[in-house]
């Protein structure tokens, strides 16, 4: 019998004959500590929270042996007065919260009063601290949660906490730690993320005696980003600006930086979210961000972003987990929308046309020795970083507007060469036409005025089982686009009318490919997928020779679209070779 087998199986794991009793304090505190201190990086995080809550402007983090041998955090914060030092290591001791009401609106990073005692439960901790007005500092040595030494000691203003031999008395946890390099990676991730949340604080990270990270501490997020992601990359990031400052203070307020669609990474690991300056993990936020990029990024590429969300403390619950990296929002939908809208607005307004340089950069890991042209480009880039002329202040162009373009010719029957006020533009004729058609069919559907061409004779289309299912599921959406499709025996359908756009195309092929396209992956918006696929099938192909008038007409139509710089799949429609780049390339400058 199954239940019996379960019973026997269970008994293998623990002895039910043990009586129930209250755990001894040391066991209980170690279990609690396990929740807070999961790995060395958690210690660093807790100590950084304390330092920042103490108003530090300079924080040095030193780690050795992946943080297991040593973690030392030195800050110049307000310090702890001598009479409070002892109690700081008591469980649930905190200066940050007094009543339960305070929990409703937490504005400090720490509040649970668990950090120091938790750390002290799993490691040897020493602390030197001096608060303002004290002549000398206090030294405290704690082993196994007990103060073993307390003395007066001279020290600068602020607090230094040193954590040694982490998890030595906790071999189970030690066993599950990853390699030193991995743990160092986690620590460095924490410090860099904090440097983005607190650009005004100067963070230094010393790993095994080597300074690996130093944030500028100049209260400029862009400069902080420059250190984390590289100066050139940081320069290309687009500022997510707050509105005019008049909006409702109760609504989420979004600031930060996001990457232009030309600058992407292959993982989601480059999106940082801060809620009231607390670095948080939340499933919904990256989703909101990527939604804002919809139609701008190629599948499998992810943006780089730092998003600060400011909202009233009572609207966010950080007390979900002792580590405090998870948060819950009272009005999750509002936060989602705010993030998405703010980022989308930024992208639409500011996204620059990719230049040849950014295209080279976004290639994954270019070989160190590329062709001579690219090398000279890279050189030009380095000089351009210094020359004030080449780095114009970011001007936000009017939404959607393209520069006035004059058609020069066509390359490889695929790209239109056009001249604009600042150099040369190469326009992908297929991508550009796709954008035009996509917006046309989308608008037609929204106005319920899709242009439909009837078939004189219905076209029979053979479908796979999967395509048939998709057709049944989404027949209504297809009808909105002008498809009149009728079942005709098993796995065959008759198409009686098609969107006028598809006239002259292979109807059967277009329909089956459309079903395949919208069927792959989980499309959140089927209707948009149909529009994308229709535009793709109807657009002029690469390799098609266009007359001068056709090219001029295409550009004119592209100008009228709301997002002329990207095709609906997210690829760029054009790249820009500026007059300055041309001059440099030819050695005129």
């Amino acid at each position: 019998m199954i239940t019996a087998r379960y019973g026997i199986g269970k008994r293998k794991w623990y002895n039910t004959n043990m009586p129930i009793k209250v755990l001894p304090t040391d066991v209980a505190s170690k279990i609690a500590a396990g929740e807070v201190v999961e790995r060395p990086a958690s210690v660093v995080k807790e100590l950084l929270d304390n330092s920042l809550d103490a108003g530090a402007t300079n924080i040095a983090v030193e780690v050795q042996g992946g943080g297991v041998r040593l973690i030392r955090v030195v800050d110049n914060g307000v310090g702890i007065p001598p009479e409070e030092v002892d109690i700081a290591f008591e469980r649930f001791a905190t200066s940050k919260v007094e009543t339960t009401d305070d929990l409703e609106s937490i504005s400090s990073l720490g509040f649970r009063g668990e950090a120091l005692p938790s750390i002290a439960a799993v490691a040897e901790v020493t602390m030197v601290t001096r608060s303002k007005g004290e002549l000398g500092g206090t030294f405290l040595n704690i082993k196994d949660s007990a103060v073993v030494e307390k003395a007066k000691r001279g020290c600068p203003l602020g607090t230094t906490v040193t954590v040694r031999n982490l998890f030595r008395s906790f071999p189970a946890r030690l066993k599950f730690l990853k390699s030193t390099a991995t743990e160092n990676g986690h620590i460095s991730q924490i410090v860099t993320q904090y440097s983005l949340a607190f650009p005004e604080v100067r963070f230094v990270l010393i790993v095994d005696g080597r300074t690996t990270f130093r944030s500028p501490g100049k209260d400029s997020l862009r400069e902080a980003l420059g250190v984390v992601y590289g100066a050139e990359n940081a320069k290309s990031l687009l500022a997510v600006e707050a509105g005019d400052g008049n909006e409702d203070p109760l609504l989420p307020h979004i600031t930060g930086f996001v990457s232009p669609p030309s600058f992407t990474r292959a993982t989601r690991g480059y999106m940082s979210f801060f809620v009231n300056r607390r670095w948080v993990q939340n499933r919904m936020l990256p989703y909101a961000l990527e939604e804002a990029y919809r139609g701008l990024l190629v599948t499998g590429r992810h943006p780089v972003a730092v998003i600060n969300i400011a909202l009233p403390p009572q609207d966010v619950d950080v007390n979900v987990h002792p580590a405090k990296s998870e948060v819950r929002f009272r009005h999750e939908r509002d936060v989602f929308t705010a993030v998405q809208m703010a980022v989308r607005d930024t992208l639409v307004a500011q996204a620059p046309i990719p230049t040849l340089e950014t295209l080279y950069q976004s290639q994954p890991a270019p070989a160190p020795s590329t062709g001579p042209l690219i090398t000279s480009d890279a050189g030009a880039q380095a000089t351009s970083a210094m020359s004030p002329v080449a780095t114009p202040p970011p001007v936000a162009p009017a939404v959607g507007l393209l520069p006035i373009l004059r058609v020069v010719g066509q390359v490889a029957s695929t790209y239109i060469i056009a001249e604009g006020p600042d150099g040369m533009y190469l326009i992908d004729q297929h991508a550009a036409h796709e954008r035009v058609l996509f917006e046309r069919i989308r608008d037609q559907r929204q106005r319920r005025a899709v242009e439909v061409q009837g078939m004189l004779q219905p076209v029979p289309v053979e479908l796979t089982v999967r395509q048939q299912e998709l057709l049944e599921m989404h027949g209504e959406a297809l009808a909105e686009y002008g498809f009149d499709i009728e079942h005709f025996g098993e796995r065959t359908c008759l198409v009686r009318s098609v969107p006028a756009m598809l006239r002259g195309q292979n109807v059967a092929q277009s329909l089956t490919e459309l079903l395949d396209f919208v069927g792959e992956g989980a499309k959140s918006d089927w209707r948009e997928g149909i529009a994308v696929s229709l535009a793709c099938h109807s657009a002029v192909l690469a390799g098609q020779v266009l007359s001068h008038d056709e090219m001029q007409d295409l550009i004119r139509q592209l100008e009228r679209t709301s997002n002329p710089k990207h095709c609906p799949h997210g690829r760029p429609t054009m790249i820009h070779l500026s007059a300055a780049q041309l001059e440099k390339g030819f050695g005129r400058r």
């Binding site: 319920r448 242009e451 061409q453 009837g454 078939m455 004189l456 006239r503 195309q505 292979n506 109807v507």
Partner: protein, 375 residues
């Protein structure tokens, strides 16, 4: 080979066969033109494997011979020469054709004529004789309705039906159908239908341009090729194999509104509407309004955020008021090939096919599917 001919004749002959020269050839020799002496004539031939065109020009043959040379090179060179006699010599065991005209000399490397694809010869089969003008009109009125997209190969061809003394051409691309019937001077005994590629008929229409004598059309007994024999020019085309859809059922048998319109009015109004239709999908809206035995048609188009237009033309309308929208290109395509002064437009509803036919001529009809629009 040693042969001479006039520059004009050679230039004209090369132009005739030039269109049959393959452009992006899998078989490189099909980029060449075949030169061969035949009696007192010089034969020029080219093929792209779908069609083969041969042309004979008067020549003074001193020594027989044959060779193929790059068509483009020879044509361009001959066209650049002054008028006069051109002497072409192919020395024995050589592949290099020597040309001499006035004080110009050239040598063109060629390829062996034995490697050139055989130009099909059609001796037996079903033969009819047609007048070039009548055939040209039929081609004009039908070929444009064939499909340009190749998903259904039979639709890229023109259905050609030989039945007694009637020769019928029909083409359809899924949105429209054009049917032209012509009478033959002599009836044939056997009933037969083949599908001729629209491209071949287009090319034939071009070749018919300067023909005055009746031409012979012969379908071989395997029904795989058709020969058009004109004076001094022959064209052979492969036929498309397959079954052409039964188009009779696509022709509406009745109507609820019939408008008789002056063709020139209809054309002008459609053209001006097509300018506004250009930005969208080319939608031209027709509103047919009867009024005491006569009536009018409003032809309009609009482009979102750009503008709109409306043209009003007189028509004799019988039946009820009707609204129907067409693609302007489809409408212009058919109106431009009708030669009569008046046309009739017959409709039953705004979502069923419209029928256009010249008034006083039941040899041509055109069916076009409307576009479904918001009125």
């Amino acid at each position: 080979m040693k042969v001479s001919c006039s520059q004009e004749d050679l230039s004209k002959g090369l132009a005739v066969v030039g269109r049959a020269v393959a452009t992006r050839a899998v078989l490189p020799i099909t980029n060449n033109v075949l030169l061969a002496t035949e009696g007192s004539q010089l034969k020029l031939a080219a093929t792209n494997l779908e069609i083969a065109t041969s042309c004979w020009i008067a020549a003074n043959v001193e020594k027989e011979g044959t060779l193929t040379v790059p068509a483009r090179l020879l044509t361009d060179f001959v066209n650049s020469l002054p008028s006069g006699q051109i002497e072409m010599t192919l020395p024995a065991r050589s592949k290099s054709l020597e040309l001499k005209c006035a004080r110009y000399d050239a040598r063109i490397s060629g390829l062996d004529a034995a490697d050139f694809p055989a130009i099909p010869t059609i001796e037996d089969g079903i033969k009819v004789t047609v007048k070039p003008d009548a055939l040209r009109l039929a081609i004009n009125q039908v070929v444009f309705a064939a499909a340009s997209e190749e998903s259904r190969p039979v639709l890229t061809g023109v259905y050609t039906d030989f039945d007694g003394d009637q020769l019928t051409f029909a083409a359809a691309d899924g949105f429209r159908l054009a049917v032209h019937t012509m009478s033959l001077d002599a009836a044939i005994k056997e009933k037969m239908a083949v599908i001729i590629p629209a491209r071949s008929l287009n090319e034939l229409g071009r070749l018919l341009g300067d023909q005055e004598e009746p031409l012979e059309v012969t379908v071989n007994s395997q029904r795989s090729q058709v020969l058009f024999k004109m004076s001094g020019v022959e064209m052979v085309s492969q036929l498309i194999q397959g079954t052409f859809p039964n188009y009779d059922q696509l022709i509406p048998q009745s109507y609820s509104t019939r408008a008789v319109i002056k063709l020139s009015d209809f054309l002008v109004a459609t053209r001006s509407a097509s300018i506004f239709a250009r930005d969208g999908s080319g939608i031209v809206r027709l509103q047919i309004m009867p009024k005491d035995g006569s009536g009018k048609i409003d032809i309009s188009a609009r482009a979102e955020e750009i503008g709109d237009n409306l043209g009003e033309i007189d028509a004799t309308v019988e039946g009820e008021e009707a609204k129907i929208a067409f693609n302007s290109k489809y409408l212009l395509d058919v109106l431009q090939v009708i030669t009569e002064k008046e046309v009739a437009l017959e409709t039953t509803s705004s979502s069923s096919p419209g029928l256009i036919r010249p008034v006083g001529n039941d040899k041509y009809l055109h069916v076009v599917m409307p576009m479904f629009v918001q009125w």
